[in-house]
Every structure is written in C-alpha cells, then in structure tokens.
C-alpha cells in the first residue's frame, strides 16, 4: 500500500467510503493556490472532524477546512495542504430561540439557507458578505470578510456570541455561549474571525439575531469630484443617522458596476453615470425614520453642493445593495489580473483616495475603489493580462498602497491576487509589530502547525 492509499484507508475507517475523496481527477478540483490535497473528507459530525484532525496530527499532515470554497484563496499561499475538510456535510440549525434572538448553527450551513430559515420568524443575521448565494456560516466567519451592513450592525465580532471548534490537538473545544452577554473565560471565538482556518476547524457558531426592520430606504448621490463625494460622506456620518450602509464608489467602481447592471438589464444601471463618483447609503427603521433620513440625505447633498441625490425605489435599492454586498466578488474578476486590497484607515479623506488612485495611474493600471463608512477601503488594481511585467506592476502598486496605509495609521491586506503577485508580496513583506504575539497564539491553538501553515500574516 502506498502512503496515499494508507491515508485514504484510515480516513475511510473514520468516515466511511462515501465521505472520502481520493481520486486524483477529483482532488484537482480542490486545489487552493496550486496546492492539491491528498484527500478530501466530508465529515458529518464534530467528532469525525476531531478524529480526522487527530489522524493528521499523528501523521504530521497539513489540514485546510473549507465551506463553499468561495473565498479559499484569501490570505497568503499555504505551505502545505494534505487533507482538506469539506464542512458542507454539517449544515443543521442546532438551536434557535426566536424569543431570545439567539441562534446556534453548524459551520457548513449556507447563509442563504439560514436566511430563509430565520425569515420565517421575522429575523435575520446581519452577515451580508460576498458570494452570499453559496457561502457557509463557517467560511464567512473564517474569511473575516466585511459585512455590507456593518455600519449599523457592526462586524461579526459584534454578534458572534460563541463557537465550537476542533483545535490542533484534535480536541473539540468551545468558547463563549448562547446568551447575548457573557464574560465567562477567554473570548477565544473572536480569534476565529478572519483566521482563515489557521487556528482550528470551526464546527458550530452561535450568533445573536436581529428582527427585520419595518421599512428601509436607500439613496445614491452622484458627484463629479472626489473632493465633494468624500467630505459629503463625512458630513452624513456626522449627523449621527442610523445608516445600514454608507459607501463611496469611485468612477472605476461605478463603471464596472454599471456594466454589470446593464448586462442584467437592471433598472439601477440608469442611475449611474460613467466617470462620476457615487455615494450610496441605505437605512432602516420605521416608515417615519426612513422618511426622515431620506430628507436628511437630500439636505446634506444640497449643503455639500455639486451633487445630485437619487432616492432609490425598492427594486433599484435592492439591486444596488445586493451588488455592493458582492463587491469583493466582481472587483476581483473585473480584469485579466486583479490585485484587490482591503485597507483599514482611521480616516478616509479625498487626499488619501487621490493618493491611492495615483499609484495605479503611475503604473498605467486601471483601478477601482470602494470605501465603506466604517473606514474600510477596497482597492483594486487591474492589469489586462497575466504576463510577468503586469504581475510585477500589480505587486509594486500593492506595496505602495500598503505604504500609504501605514503612513496613515492604517493597515492593508491582500484579499485577492494572482498567485505570482501573492508570492512577490510575501517575499517583500515587513513584519507587523504584533506578529510575535500572533505567533504565540497560533502555537497555543495549533502546536504542531497543522492548520493551513503559512496562510496568515508572518507565515504563521
């Protein structure tokens, strides 16, 4: 028996033959960043996950958990991947107390299914993340990707109340609980957010849920210049209005979005004009609140000057809102080779936006920028082809953007880039001051470094 056959037979012992994939042609479809696992397993219980991890620990095999695979290539390329764990076999709602607005779900449950489930009770989970049609609760959490509704509901760390996961020793562990307020023990579950599967295999997640708002509304405010659009956003934010989303789209983003909407014959396409800036804001509440905020946004537009406020009807609002939730997805496929960075900034100014634009222009790259009110900028630089010279330009531009972020007390991470660009960036990276602490945590969770070695900062 070869080594691979031996592994397969031991995995079959744990999971049964139908839950192990080992045929080379099928494995190729599970490659991440060019790494093909030796086996893919699809466990149906947390105990099976734990057994697989214990086997991997014994054999020193690298493990990568995945859900719908929609964001699998986030992060740096892993050094090894031997066993991939497909979590979509675990997709139950384990517990739901509608009266308490708390929920506990298996990690492999698709968010779309969860949405349908909760909507029957008039509630929802404000995890409006890209690839929403396919993404799983566990994958969305582990990716750490932003929710388009964070302006109002915060990010996952604000409504994740507990988790169960298998650590690097193959033990099923838990943190937090199923109540909305809790300081019992270390908040280990928060560490799983954005961990890209490097700390443990998430098996269950507990959330607080939210009631559907009675009414909602949205506006798109069109400006010719960033110098009007960006301060407008700031002045709207300062009014203290409860906005669900507040986003600035640069002309690059408006162009891509308009083209997609047009192809889908969506009415919202007509609201966007190429070459302009667009500020999108959405809001929720009672009818009276929605009316009030609409008026406030109109007033702010007039006060700012140089803009035109379009109040969106329900269809257009849904189209634009839905597309902006998916921005990560369409930005990264908007050209032959795209480097998409997420830049967190304490303050978004027209000057910073212009500086980022100039980086792309100097490298003769197209670019698109989307800024969220919470201080997160999605910045995509685009090359037409994947030739060496283009990839080099993308990598250089990404490093310059990172430098701007650093100067402005912010931080930049790559969400998507061709493998060659990621490799160049990994080679050029400068250690963050807190990396030694991150490394200590990684060792505590995963002493043998089984989980996606190398995928997260510092080659951890």
């Amino acid at each position: 028996m070869t080594v691979a056959e031996k592994l397969t037979s031991r995995l079959v012992e744990i999971l049964g033959p139908h839950r192990v994939v080992s045929a080379p042609e099928e494995l190729a479809a599970h490659a991440i960043d060019g790494l093909t696992p030796q086996a893919v397993v699809c466990p149906e219980s947390a105990e099976q996950v734990a057994e697989v991890v214990r086997l991997a620990a014994g054999e020193k095999l690298a493990v990568q958990a995945f859900g719908s695979r929609s964001k699998c290539e986030m992060g740096m390329p892993a050094a090894r991947c031997d066993v991939a764990i497909d979590m979509t076999g675990m997709r139950e709602v384990a517990h739901y107390d509608a009266g308490d607005l708390t929920l506990s779900v298996d990690a492999g449950l698709p968010l779309r299914e969860l949405e349908a489930y909760l909507s029957k009770h008039g509630q929802f989970l404000p995890l409006a993340v890209p690839c929403f049609e396919s993404t799983t609760a566990g994958g969305a959490l582990a990716s750490g990707i932003d929710s388009a509704l964070r302006q109002q509901y915060g990010s996952a760390r604000d409504f994740l109340i507990g988790a169960e996961f298998v650590d690097g020793t193959g033990q099923l562990c838990k943190s937090g609980g199923r109540v909305v307020k809790n300081v019992t023990g270390y908040d280990l579950h928060k560490l799983l957010i954005g961990s890209l599967g490097t700390l443990g295999v998430i098996t269950r997640l507990n959330f607080r849920t939210y009631p559907f708002p009675a009414a909602s509304g949205a506006c798109a405010v069109i400006f010719d210049r960033a110098e009007n659009a960006v301060p407008f956003c700031g002045s709207v934010a300062k009014k203290g209005l409860p906005l669900a989303a507040l986003e600035i789209l640069d002309p690059g983003t408006v162009g891509i979005l308009r083209a997609i909407l047009q192809r889908g014959e969506a009415s919202a396409a007509a609201l966007l004009t190429d070459g302009t800036w667009c500020v999108y804001c959405s809001f929720e509440g009672t009818e009276a609140v929605v009316r009030r905020i609409t008026e406030e946004v109109k007033r702010a537009t007039a006060e700012q000057g140089g803009g035109r406020c379009e109040v969106l009807d329900a269809a257009a609002g849904e189209q634009l809102g839905g597309m902006l939730r998916e921005a990560y997805e369409w930005l990264r496929w908007s050209s032959g080779a795209v480097c998409l960075q997420r830049i967190a900034l304490p303050e978004i100014t027209a000057v910073t936006v212009a500086e980022l634009g100039r980086i792309a222009e100097a490298a003769l790259l197209r670019h698109a920028l989307l800024a969220r009110g919470a201080g997160v900028v999605y910045f995509a630089t685009m090359a037409e082809a994947e030739d060496d010279a283009s990839l080099d330009l993308l990598a250089r531009a990404a490093l310059k953007a990172k430098e701007i972020a650093r100067r402005k007390n912010g931080q930049a991470t790559v969400l998507h880039a061709p493998l060659a660009v990621k490799t160049k960036l990994a080679a050029a990276r400068v250690a963050q001051p807190d990396e030694p602490l991150q490394l200590r945590l990684k060792r505590a969770f995963d002493p043998a470094n089984l989980f996606a070695p190398g995928r997260i900062v510092g080659g951890i």
Binding site: K174, L188, G240, L441
Partner: protein, 476 residues
C-alpha cells in the same frame, strides 16, 4: 517581602509611590467582592516604562504581580491572591488624545470611566460602557473585566469599544496590538485581551471608540403588581424585536429599600418596576416608546410613566445606580451575583431564585439588566455569622448552577476572577481548559501575572474559595 525589592521599587518610583506597611496594604486587600487577599507591596507607576521595570524587578525576585484600577471589581479580579506586588494604575490617569473627527480617544488605564465622557461631551460624544461604578471605576479595569452596564443592551460591552492597546507582558516587554480604525490584521488580539481579567498582560494605554450622543432619549418607568408581569413584559419586548437602549428590572423589595434612601419615585407598594430607555432619532424614539408602553399595558402594568424631563430621568437612574448603596444601609454585607440566562427564560429564573432564597433562608433582592438576561441577585448576609456566610455562598452557587442549566453562563459582566473560578467546570470541559491554559501560558507562562484567577484551582468543588472566604470570616 524581600527588602531589596522594596528598596529597588522606592528608588525607581520614589518612596511616595510605594506602600509596604501592613496598615497601608490592608486597604488593598479588598475589592467589591466578598473575597480578600493582601498584597505584599503596592506601587503606583506614572509611565509605561515604570510598569515594565516593575514587572521585570518582580520577575527577577519570582514575585507575582497584579494590576488594579479603582478596586470596584466584583469577582476578586484585582486582588493579590498569591500576594506579591500590586500595581495600582490610579496615577496613570491622563487622557492622552481625543480625536473628535474620527471618534477615538487614547487614554491611560487609570482614567475614570465617567471622566472620559465628561471630557468629550462638549463635542456630542461619550464613552458607551457604563458600569454602575462609572463614577469611580477605571477604564483599565473595564478593559480587564470587559465591563458592561445598563446601556450595553444596545451598545455592547467594553470589547465592542476598544480598538487598540499598549500592554506590558509578564516578561516586561512593551507591545502594541490592534489599530486605530478597529480592524487589525491577523488575529483579533484586542478581542482576546479585553476581558482576560489581567491574566495575560498589563494594559498601559487604551484606544477606544467614542459614541455619538443620541438626538432624543425617552425614559419609561413601568410599574407592575407582580414581578411575573414585569418578566413577561421583558420577554415580549425582546420577542417583538424592540431594542431599548436599557431595560432594567427592580423587584418590589429592592425598590422599597431604594425608596427609603433615594426617593426616586418608585411606587412603594408595587411588585416590580422596569426602567426602560429608548434612544435615537426623534421619530424612532416616539414609536419605540409607544410600542413599549403598549407591551407594558398588555402585560398588566399598573402604570406606565414617562420621565417628563431630564430631572426626573436622572432621578430614576439615581435610584437604579445607587441601589447597592441603599442595600448597604440595611445589611451588614451582601453578595452580588452575576449570571446570564436566555431572555425567554426570565420568568422561570426569577421564580427559581425565590425558591432558592426560601431554601437557604435569605431575602434575595433582584436588580438587574433584564433586557439581556443578566441577573444580579443580591444575597444579604452577616459576615460575622460564619454559618450564614457559607449559606450565602451556597445559595449563590445554586443560582449560578440554575443559570447554566437554563442554557446560560456564569458571569455576564463581573468576570470569573476568584469568585467563580471553581465553578468554571460547570461550563467548560477538560479540552476547553487545556486550550485556555495554553493560551494563558503563551503570554503568562509562569503565572506570574494575576495568579489564581479564572482557572479552577481544584476541579469541581468550591473548597478553595470557601476556605479563603472562611479565613476572611475569621479575620473579621
């Protein structure tokens, strides 16, 4: 205590910033909990560099270190359980920076919670975590315990408002985590360190989010004949998806004790009152207040009173926030419990607490954050009566067990500390402890920082805690 260490500390900090006489140390053996433990030395640093040096000196002598803010904690988090050096952050109390534009403030750990709000309210901003001890507790202490308060129902606890920390690790290394915007690269270290009860690092600088004051506030007092009706109201408000900014319950016995002291206007013959607050846009507040009044009436409220002005609002809150002071007037001592249950179980939980009180022969008062299911039963006892004290501890334990049985947890905002470390196995398995221990050891490998907290010393039973408590009784 090694005299050389005392000399070194004096030369580093100046004699005025080092306490070593027993009569001085006595003042630092208490916090707001029922536990006591005396440090061997108390020091008052003024800078991060001094903190790092203190930690290194203590480390060289193999002496444990514990951080302390104002000592208002309720779980023994800031007590020197293993003796050693206590670092009191009272003199690191500067607000380093306020960034009104981006709603951030950088503060030293000794800044008093309400002082920060006072410093930024001119700009329409405030610091959201509002523990009842806000007048005296420090933000460093809030960070260590991940403190909550009445308004955390809508705005979250301390960890929702902290974006970056400067810390001194147990080996004396100074390090920074997080970022000013709030989303740090890599793992959410702030999420771990906030609420780690001083067992992983000493926090020396905190960057917090400031919140914008709401345009409108309405405070509603719901008066009920029975606590059951008040509970039903909370369940119904939650189920309807109304999120008040605060939803506090006071039972009849407690509100009468408060009335004797404060005269907040709570009807003395009522079975319970709910203190509810809604905040936000004028339009939202109007509708929410109306919806809440509707639920109150539906649940048989005797009266629904809207605070007519800021004065009456402040008076209601004064009643709520001074409750513990009021109770302190009528009993030699009391034990404030802190447990959480799913909100849908509130009526059942209150009934069980009453039974438990009966079984152990205690009057148990209830004044708590009903909106998030965070119970604070108050057990009144006389610490001079050893049997009664032990009964109080047993009653407390029964209540905590009940919370866990209902799907809840041991503590919602007071922390585990010394108080509940022995009860941790009710919730956590050996595997959970093994991982928590590895995380602890990754930063604090020799347990030189705040030893004897969070983790159970002996599994399963309350021996150690009760033993410590007994010593306390005997020394009174």
């Amino acid at each position: 205590m090694n005299p050389r260490l005392i000399r070194e500390m004096r030369s580093l900090l100046g004699a005025a910033n080092v306490l070593s006489e027993p009569e001085d140390l006595m003042l630092y053996e208490y916090d707001g909990s029922v536990e006591t433990a005396r440090p061997d030395l108390v020091v008052f640093p003024h800078t991060t560099a001094e903190v790092a040096e203190i930690v290194k000196m203590a480390g060289r002598e193999g002496v444990p270190v514990v951080g302390r803010g104002a000592g208002t904690g309720l779980s023994g988090g800031a007590l020197a359980r293993g003796g050693g050096v206590m670092i009191v952050f009272a003199r690191m109390n500067k607000i380093v920076e306020v960034d009104v534009e981006n709603r951030r403030a950088v503060v030293q750990p000794g800044v008093v919670n309400q002082e920060l709000t006072r410093a930024v309210e001119h700009a329409g901003l405030y610091f959201a975590p509002d523990p009842s001890s806000g007048k005296s507790c420090t933000i460093g202490g809030n960070v260590a315990e991940n403190s909550g308060g009445p308004h955390t129902l809508a705005y979250g606890v301390t960890s929702n408002h902290v974006v970056a920390l400067e810390m001194v690790l147990p080996d004396g290394e100074v390090t920074r985590i997080g970022g000013r915007q709030g989303d740090a690269m890599g793992y959410d270290l702030c999420g771990l360190f906030v609420g780690s009860e001083g067992t992983l690092a000493l926090v020396t600088e905190i960057t917090v989010k400031l919140s914008r004051a709401a345009e409108a506030v309405k405070t509603i007092l719901g008066v009920f004949e029975t606590i059951e009706d008040a509970c039903d109201t909370v369940v119904e408000i939650t189920a309807r998806g109304i999120t008040p900014a605060a939803c506090e319950m006071l039972d009849g016995w407690t509100l009468r004790v408060i009335e004797d002291y404060i005269q907040a206007g709570f009807p003395r013959d009522s079975g319970a009152v709910l203190l509810l607050e809604v905040e936000g846009l004028r339009e939202a507040v109007e509708e929410q207040a109306a919806a809440i009044a509707d639920v109150c009436h539906q649940c048989r409220a005797r009266e629904v009173r809207l605070a007519k002005d800021a004065r009456e609002r402040d008076l209601f809150w004064k009643g709520r926030k001074n409750a513990f002071g009021a109770i302190g007037r009528i009993a030699p001592s009391y034990y404030v419990l802190d447990g959480v249950i799913p909100r849908s179980k509130l009526p059942l939980a209150l009934a069980r607490i009453k039974e438990i009180g009966k079984k152990y022969g205690f009057q148990i008062g209830n004044i708590f954050h009903a909106g998030d299911g965070n119970l604070h039963p108050l057990v009144l006892y006389d610490p001079r009566n050893r049997e009664q004290f032990e009964s109080a501890i047993s009653a407390g334990e029964s209540i905590v067990r009940m919370c866990v049985e209902m799907g809840g947890v041991l503590t919602g905002e007071h922390g585990v500390g010394m108080e509940k470390s022995e009860l941790m196995p009710l919730l956590f398995s050996d595997a959970d402890f093994a991982l928590m221990r590895r995380v602890h050891d990754a930063f604090n490998p020799d347990s030189s920082l705040n030893p004897g907290k969070i983790f159970p010393l002996s599994k399963g039973c309350g021996e150690i805690r009760i033993k410590k408590a007994r010593e306390a009784v005997e020394s009174t």
